[in-house]
Symmetry: C2
Subunit: 112 residues, 2 copies
DNA sequence: ATAATATATCCGCATATCCGCTTATAATCA
DNA sequence: TGATTATAAGCGGATATGCGGATATATTAT
């Protein structure tokens, strides 16, 4: 029960929901997320660490860049919740705005 | 986004998950929940209020008794999450133990 | 009205959580 | 090696959250 509560706790913050909402579609690095969300590096980094420690994200380093993605190997509750998030977050105003901002960046100056 | 975070926050506590797990099956009153979870009245009452304020529960008074149940009229995320909880909580050791304790009470001394 | 029962709310306490700035660490290049 | 870039982690501050005991409120019976 406590581990389930922990999974939900990771989702109970707006910034973290925004991050997860972006990562539903593709792997991203910290600087992309920073740019899109327009948040300080330390804030983004802390939230990414929280999501990773809670079991939602994997990370990999590529040179100076750290890429984060949603775990492949989640349990059935996680899979179920991700499906719920996909269906319910994608239409939200803020999520749409974030994704549009990401598209803008992908055409111009992304880190990789 | 904030309201979604709030829905998840309501689920990010073990006691509240246990309460919700019981209410997945039937409406219960505060004293039933207290007895099953073996928690003080103020603790149970506070958590029920939190779940209600977050949009997960309805309440109705019947004499001195307050009955709580899961909302019928939740949004699609809520419906989706409840489905996930149904599938994933019911087999958990603690949830099973709680339900068994509830069955024991239902055959002997329940408030109603 | 008083007493009893059920429950909501208050209270103080301890801990957790979020924030952004600062510092430490990792990787790369000259 | 030192400098630069990217990112993790530390720090202090403000706020939120969980706890259980005490008190307030609601309902019912006498």
């Amino acid at each position: 029960m406590k581990t389930i509560a922990r999974l939900f706790k990771a989702l109970s913050d707006e910034t973290r929901l925004r991050i997860l909402s972006l990562l539903l579609y593709e792997e991203l690095c910290v600087c992309d997320i920073m740019a899109v969300l327009q948040l300080p590096q330390s804030t983004v980094s802390r939230h990414l660490a929280y999501l990773k420690n809670a079991g939602w994200l994997d990370d990999r380093r590529c040179g100076v860049w750290m890429y984060y993605s949603i775990v492949d190997s989640g349990n059935s509750l996680q899979k179920s919740l991700l499906e719920s998030l996909r269906e319910n977050l994608s239409g939200l105003e803020m999520a749409v705005a974030d994704r549009e901002r990401l598209c803008g960046f992908s055409q111009h100056n992304r880190c990789a």
